[in-house]
Amino acid sequence: METVAAGDLVTRAREGDEQAWDDLVDRYLGMVHGICRGHRLGSDDAADVNQVVWLRLVEHLDRIRTPDAVGGWIAATTRNECLRVLRIAGRLVPTGDDAVFDGEPTGRDPGIDTGLLVYERDRALMAAFARLGDRCQKLLRLLMADPVPSYDEIAAALDMPVGSIGPTRGRCLDRLRHLMA
Protein backbone atom coordinates (compact mmCIF):
# COMPACT_ATOMS: atom_id res chain seq x y z
CA MET A 1 0.00 0.00 0.00
CA GLU A 2 1.31 3.39 -0.91
CA THR A 3 1.90 5.50 2.12
CA VAL A 4 2.11 9.24 1.81
CA ALA A 5 4.14 10.85 4.57
CA ALA A 6 1.92 12.56 7.12
CA GLY A 7 4.05 15.67 6.73
CA ASP A 8 3.15 15.88 3.04
CA LEU A 9 -0.53 15.70 3.90
CA VAL A 10 -0.08 18.52 6.42
CA THR A 11 1.76 20.64 3.89
CA ARG A 12 -0.92 20.11 1.26
CA ALA A 13 -3.74 20.73 3.72
CA ARG A 14 -2.08 24.01 4.70
CA GLU A 15 -2.32 25.02 1.07
CA GLY A 16 -6.03 24.29 1.09
CA ASP A 17 -6.00 20.76 -0.33
CA GLU A 18 -9.17 19.25 1.07
CA GLN A 19 -8.31 15.75 -0.14
CA ALA A 20 -5.13 15.86 1.92
CA TRP A 21 -7.20 16.84 4.95
CA ASP A 22 -9.59 13.95 4.33
CA ASP A 23 -6.61 11.62 4.11
CA LEU A 24 -5.35 12.89 7.47
CA VAL A 25 -8.80 12.22 8.91
CA ASP A 26 -8.85 8.70 7.50
CA ARG A 27 -5.41 8.02 8.89
CA TYR A 28 -5.98 9.23 12.44
CA LEU A 29 -9.71 8.99 13.12
CA GLY A 30 -9.42 5.44 14.47
CA MET A 31 -6.67 6.55 16.82
CA VAL A 32 -8.75 9.45 18.14
CA HIS A 33 -11.62 7.05 18.71
CA GLY A 34 -9.35 4.54 20.44
CA ILE A 35 -8.01 7.20 22.81
CA CYS A 36 -11.54 8.41 23.68
CA ARG A 37 -12.70 4.85 24.35
CA GLY A 38 -9.58 4.15 26.36
CA HIS A 39 -10.57 7.05 28.60
CA ARG A 40 -14.12 5.67 28.78
CA LEU A 41 -15.83 8.85 27.77
CA GLY A 42 -19.55 8.69 27.16
CA SER A 43 -20.64 8.92 23.57
CA ASP A 44 -21.58 12.63 23.65
CA ASP A 45 -18.35 13.62 25.37
CA ALA A 46 -16.33 11.48 22.99
CA ALA A 47 -18.05 13.05 19.98
CA ASP A 48 -17.30 16.52 21.35
CA VAL A 49 -13.64 15.63 21.86
CA ASN A 50 -13.44 14.29 18.32
CA GLN A 51 -14.87 17.54 16.99
CA VAL A 52 -12.58 19.76 19.04
CA VAL A 53 -9.45 17.79 18.15
CA TRP A 54 -10.00 18.32 14.43
CA LEU A 55 -10.99 21.98 14.85
CA ARG A 56 -7.83 22.52 16.89
CA LEU A 57 -5.78 20.82 14.21
CA VAL A 58 -7.20 23.20 11.60
CA GLU A 59 -6.22 26.13 13.81
CA HIS A 60 -2.74 24.79 14.36
CA LEU A 61 -1.89 23.46 10.90
CA ASP A 62 0.34 26.43 10.18
CA ARG A 63 2.16 26.15 13.45
CA ILE A 64 2.95 22.48 13.74
CA ARG A 65 6.73 22.52 13.83
CA THR A 66 7.28 18.96 12.71
CA PRO A 67 4.57 18.12 10.18
CA ASP A 68 5.67 14.48 10.05
CA ALA A 69 4.86 14.25 13.76
CA VAL A 70 1.28 15.43 13.29
CA GLY A 71 0.02 12.06 14.51
CA GLY A 72 1.77 12.62 17.84
CA TRP A 73 0.21 16.07 18.04
CA ILE A 74 -3.24 14.64 17.39
CA ALA A 75 -2.67 11.88 19.95
CA ALA A 76 -1.50 14.29 22.67
CA THR A 77 -4.31 16.76 21.94
CA THR A 78 -6.93 14.01 22.10
CA ARG A 79 -5.54 12.73 25.39
CA ASN A 80 -5.47 16.22 26.88
CA GLU A 81 -9.04 16.90 25.83
CA CYS A 82 -10.20 13.56 27.27
CA LEU A 83 -8.48 14.36 30.56
CA ARG A 84 -9.98 17.84 30.56
CA VAL A 85 -13.49 16.49 30.08
CA LEU A 86 -12.97 13.96 32.87
CA ARG A 87 -11.48 16.57 35.17
CA ILE A 88 -14.26 19.08 34.62
CA ALA A 89 -16.80 16.36 35.23
CA GLY A 90 -14.95 15.44 38.42
CA ARG A 91 -14.35 11.94 37.12
CA LEU A 92 -10.60 12.00 36.84
CA VAL A 93 -9.09 9.43 39.17
CA PRO A 94 -5.31 9.13 38.96
CA THR A 95 -4.22 5.57 38.38
CA GLY A 96 -1.14 4.49 40.30
CA ASP A 97 1.35 2.39 38.41
CA ASP A 98 0.77 -0.47 40.84
CA ALA A 99 -2.70 -0.85 39.43
CA VAL A 100 -1.54 -0.97 35.85
CA PHE A 101 -1.65 -4.67 35.20
CA ASP A 102 -3.49 -6.35 38.01
CA GLY A 103 -5.70 -3.59 39.26
CA GLU A 104 -9.39 -4.01 39.63
CA PRO A 105 -11.19 -2.45 36.71
CA THR A 106 -11.78 1.21 37.46
CA GLY A 107 -14.85 1.53 35.29
CA ARG A 108 -18.04 -0.46 35.18
CA ASP A 109 -18.86 0.07 31.55
CA PRO A 110 -16.60 -1.80 29.16
CA GLY A 111 -17.96 0.49 26.49
CA ILE A 112 -18.87 -2.34 24.22
CA ASP A 113 -22.33 -3.01 22.91
CA THR A 114 -22.12 -6.73 23.39
CA GLY A 115 -25.34 -7.19 21.47
CA LEU A 116 -23.40 -6.34 18.37
CA LEU A 117 -20.77 -8.97 18.95
CA VAL A 118 -21.64 -11.91 16.83
CA TYR A 119 -19.13 -14.35 18.06
CA GLU A 120 -19.01 -15.89 21.50
CA ARG A 121 -15.27 -15.69 21.47
CA ASP A 122 -15.42 -11.98 20.76
CA ARG A 123 -17.77 -11.63 23.67
CA ALA A 124 -15.44 -13.52 25.97
CA LEU A 125 -12.51 -11.55 24.68
CA MET A 126 -14.13 -8.19 25.26
CA ALA A 127 -15.38 -9.27 28.69
CA ALA A 128 -11.82 -10.18 29.63
CA PHE A 129 -10.63 -6.93 28.10
CA ALA A 130 -13.02 -4.97 30.32
CA ARG A 131 -11.38 -6.55 33.38
CA LEU A 132 -7.93 -5.33 32.46
CA GLY A 133 -6.35 -2.48 34.36
CA ASP A 134 -6.81 1.04 33.15
CA ARG A 135 -3.48 1.46 31.43
CA CYS A 136 -3.69 -1.83 29.59
CA GLN A 137 -7.11 -0.90 28.25
CA LYS A 138 -5.80 2.44 27.04
CA LEU A 139 -2.82 0.85 25.31
CA LEU A 140 -4.72 -2.03 23.74
CA ARG A 141 -7.48 0.31 22.54
CA LEU A 142 -4.84 2.08 20.50
CA LEU A 143 -3.43 -1.18 19.17
CA MET A 144 -6.97 -2.12 18.16
CA ALA A 145 -7.45 1.09 16.16
CA ASP A 146 -7.58 1.04 12.39
CA PRO A 147 -5.02 1.90 11.20
CA VAL A 148 -2.79 1.10 14.17
CA PRO A 149 -0.92 4.21 15.30
CA SER A 150 2.88 4.30 15.34
CA TYR A 151 4.73 3.80 18.61
CA ASP A 152 5.59 7.51 18.60
CA GLU A 153 1.90 8.33 18.39
CA ILE A 154 1.02 5.82 21.08
CA ALA A 155 3.72 7.31 23.31
CA ALA A 156 2.16 10.74 22.84
CA ALA A 157 -1.33 9.41 23.49
CA LEU A 158 -0.35 7.65 26.70
CA ASP A 159 2.42 9.98 27.83
CA MET A 160 4.78 7.04 28.18
CA PRO A 161 8.28 6.39 26.80
CA VAL A 162 8.39 4.68 23.42
CA GLY A 163 10.74 2.08 24.85
CA SER A 164 8.21 0.82 27.37
CA ILE A 165 5.37 0.29 24.87
CA GLY A 166 6.59 -3.10 23.65
CA PRO A 167 7.14 -4.63 27.10
CA THR A 168 3.86 -3.14 28.38
CA ARG A 169 2.02 -4.53 25.40
CA GLY A 170 3.44 -7.98 26.15
CA ARG A 171 2.43 -7.84 29.80
CA CYS A 172 -1.07 -6.59 28.97
CA LEU A 173 -1.61 -9.38 26.45
CA ASP A 174 -0.32 -11.94 28.99
CA ARG A 175 -2.79 -10.59 31.48
CA LEU A 176 -5.57 -10.79 28.92
CA ARG A 177 -4.71 -14.42 28.14
CA HIS A 178 -4.73 -15.15 31.86
CA LEU A 179 -8.18 -13.56 32.27
CA MET A 180 -9.52 -15.62 29.39
CA ALA A 181 -8.08 -18.89 30.60
Partner: protein, 165 residues
Protein backbone atom coordinates in the same frame (compact mmCIF):
# COMPACT_ATOMS: atom_id res chain seq x y z
CA UNK B 1 -13.82 -39.50 12.38
CA UNK B 2 -11.75 -36.77 10.98
CA UNK B 3 -14.66 -35.14 9.21
CA UNK B 4 -17.01 -34.89 12.19
CA UNK B 5 -17.96 -31.25 12.61
CA UNK B 6 -17.95 -31.48 16.37
CA UNK B 7 -16.95 -28.82 18.84
CA UNK B 8 -13.56 -27.43 17.93
CA UNK B 9 -10.65 -28.68 19.98
CA UNK B 10 -9.55 -26.35 22.74
CA UNK B 11 -7.59 -23.67 21.03
CA UNK B 12 -4.01 -23.19 22.09
CA UNK B 13 -3.37 -19.89 23.79
CA UNK B 14 -2.99 -17.36 20.99
CA UNK B 15 0.30 -15.61 20.55
CA UNK B 16 0.51 -11.84 20.82
CA UNK B 17 -0.14 -11.14 17.15
CA UNK B 18 -3.10 -13.50 17.02
CA UNK B 19 -4.59 -12.04 20.14
CA UNK B 20 -4.20 -8.49 18.88
CA UNK B 21 -5.75 -9.42 15.59
CA UNK B 22 -8.71 -10.95 17.42
CA UNK B 23 -9.07 -7.82 19.52
CA UNK B 24 -8.90 -5.75 16.39
CA UNK B 25 -11.70 -7.73 14.80
CA UNK B 26 -13.86 -7.72 17.93
CA UNK B 27 -13.49 -3.96 18.28
CA UNK B 28 -14.29 -3.39 14.61
CA UNK B 29 -17.49 -5.40 15.02
CA UNK B 30 -18.60 -4.25 18.43
CA UNK B 31 -17.11 -0.82 18.82
CA UNK B 32 -16.58 0.87 15.47
CA UNK B 33 -15.91 4.56 15.01
CA UNK B 34 -19.42 6.05 15.45
CA UNK B 35 -21.40 7.31 12.49
CA UNK B 36 -20.86 10.98 12.02
CA UNK B 37 -17.35 11.19 13.42
CA UNK B 38 -15.72 11.12 10.02
CA UNK B 39 -18.06 13.77 8.62
CA UNK B 40 -17.45 15.98 11.67
CA UNK B 41 -13.70 15.63 11.26
CA UNK B 42 -13.84 16.40 7.55
CA UNK B 43 -16.12 19.41 8.05
CA UNK B 44 -13.62 20.92 10.46
CA UNK B 45 -11.49 21.87 7.45
CA UNK B 46 -14.06 24.46 6.39
CA UNK B 47 -13.44 26.34 9.63
CA UNK B 48 -9.91 27.18 8.53
CA UNK B 49 -11.50 30.09 6.67
CA UNK B 50 -12.62 31.66 9.94
CA UNK B 51 -9.96 34.23 10.67
CA UNK B 52 -8.44 36.01 13.61
CA UNK B 53 -5.40 35.32 15.68
CA UNK B 54 -5.92 32.26 17.82
CA UNK B 55 -6.10 33.03 21.53
CA UNK B 56 -4.88 29.97 23.40
CA UNK B 57 -6.44 28.50 26.45
CA UNK B 58 -4.07 29.31 29.31
CA UNK B 59 -6.27 28.69 32.33
CA UNK B 60 -9.16 26.33 32.91
CA UNK B 61 -10.62 25.61 36.30
CA UNK B 62 -13.84 24.66 37.91
CA UNK B 63 -14.84 27.58 40.04
CA UNK B 64 -16.70 27.29 43.26
CA UNK B 65 -18.48 30.42 44.39
CA UNK B 66 -20.96 30.94 47.09
CA UNK B 67 -23.75 33.41 46.66
CA UNK B 68 -24.82 34.72 43.29
CA UNK B 69 -26.78 31.55 42.81
CA UNK B 70 -29.87 33.27 41.53
CA UNK B 71 -28.62 33.43 37.94
CA UNK B 72 -27.22 29.91 37.85
CA UNK B 73 -28.56 27.17 35.66
CA UNK B 74 -30.15 24.39 37.62
CA UNK B 75 -27.68 21.68 38.55
CA UNK B 76 -24.90 23.60 36.88
CA UNK B 77 -21.19 23.69 37.47
CA UNK B 78 -19.07 26.78 37.04
CA UNK B 79 -15.88 26.96 35.15
CA UNK B 80 -13.42 29.77 34.49
CA UNK B 81 -11.31 29.89 31.35
CA UNK B 82 -8.74 32.36 30.15
CA UNK B 83 -7.48 32.70 26.59
CA UNK B 84 -4.49 34.73 25.55
CA UNK B 85 -3.38 35.59 22.06
CA UNK B 86 0.16 34.72 21.13
CA UNK B 87 1.98 37.97 21.72
CA UNK B 88 3.62 37.10 24.99
CA UNK B 89 2.32 37.85 28.44
CA UNK B 90 1.02 41.26 27.39
CA UNK B 91 -1.26 40.01 24.63
CA UNK B 92 -5.01 40.60 24.67
CA UNK B 93 -7.01 38.17 26.76
CA UNK B 94 -10.52 36.85 26.95
CA UNK B 95 -11.73 35.61 30.32
CA UNK B 96 -14.97 33.73 30.52
CA UNK B 97 -17.02 32.16 33.22
CA UNK B 98 -19.12 29.25 32.09
CA UNK B 99 -22.27 28.23 33.81
CA UNK B 100 -22.68 24.70 32.51
CA UNK B 101 -26.07 23.04 32.81
CA UNK B 102 -27.20 19.67 31.54
CA UNK B 103 -27.57 20.81 27.95
CA UNK B 104 -27.10 24.59 28.02
CA UNK B 105 -24.21 26.89 28.72
CA UNK B 106 -24.28 30.49 29.87
CA UNK B 107 -21.20 32.61 29.20
CA UNK B 108 -20.14 35.75 31.04
CA UNK B 109 -16.98 37.21 29.60
CA UNK B 110 -14.55 40.07 29.87
CA UNK B 111 -12.02 41.36 27.38
CA UNK B 112 -8.62 42.49 28.62
CA UNK B 113 -7.72 45.19 27.98
CA UNK B 114 -11.34 46.31 28.24
CA UNK B 115 -13.01 47.95 25.28
CA UNK B 116 -16.02 47.70 23.02
CA UNK B 117 -16.05 44.80 20.58
CA UNK B 118 -18.36 42.45 18.78
CA UNK B 119 -18.11 38.98 20.25
CA UNK B 120 -19.67 36.07 18.42
CA UNK B 121 -20.04 32.64 19.98
CA UNK B 122 -19.63 30.08 17.21
CA UNK B 123 -20.59 26.45 17.20
CA UNK B 124 -21.74 23.97 14.60
CA UNK B 125 -25.31 24.95 15.35
CA UNK B 126 -24.81 28.63 14.56
CA UNK B 127 -23.52 31.97 15.70
CA UNK B 128 -24.73 33.99 18.65
CA UNK B 129 -23.70 37.67 18.76
CA UNK B 130 -22.81 39.21 22.12
CA UNK B 131 -21.63 42.83 21.98
CA UNK B 132 -19.13 43.93 24.61
CA UNK B 133 -19.45 47.45 26.02
CA UNK B 134 -16.65 49.87 26.90
CA UNK B 135 -15.97 47.80 30.02
CA UNK B 136 -15.29 44.78 27.78
CA UNK B 137 -18.00 42.70 29.44
CA UNK B 138 -20.27 40.48 27.38
CA UNK B 139 -22.91 37.85 28.01
CA UNK B 140 -24.20 34.90 26.04
CA UNK B 141 -27.33 33.80 27.76
CA UNK B 142 -27.83 30.43 26.22
CA UNK B 143 -25.65 28.24 24.08
CA UNK B 144 -26.18 24.57 23.39
CA UNK B 145 -23.72 22.52 25.43
CA UNK B 146 -21.55 21.65 22.48
CA UNK B 147 -18.03 22.71 21.48
CA UNK B 148 -17.77 26.42 20.77
CA UNK B 149 -15.29 29.22 20.27
CA UNK B 150 -15.52 33.00 20.48
CA UNK B 151 -14.67 35.38 17.67
CA UNK B 152 -13.77 38.85 18.94
CA UNK B 153 -13.71 41.84 16.62
CA UNK B 154 -12.64 45.00 18.39
CA UNK B 155 -9.30 46.68 18.82
CA UNK B 156 -7.89 43.19 18.43
CA UNK B 157 -9.33 40.55 16.14
CA UNK B 158 -8.96 37.14 17.65
CA UNK B 159 -10.58 33.78 17.96
CA UNK B 160 -10.40 31.62 21.05
CA UNK B 161 -9.45 27.98 20.81
CA UNK B 162 -12.36 25.61 20.63
CA UNK B 163 -13.48 24.20 23.94
CA UNK B 164 -15.74 21.40 25.09
CA UNK B 165 -18.01 22.97 27.71
Amino acid sequence: MTDTPAAPPPAPAPDDEQLLSELHRAAALGDPVPDGWRATAREAFAWSAVGGEVARLVHDARSVRDGRVERRLIGSTQRTLRFRSGRGAGGPMVEIELDVGADKVRVTGRLRPPGPAMVVAMSRSGRVPAPAGPDGVFHVDELPRRPFCLLVTGEAVLKTEWVVP
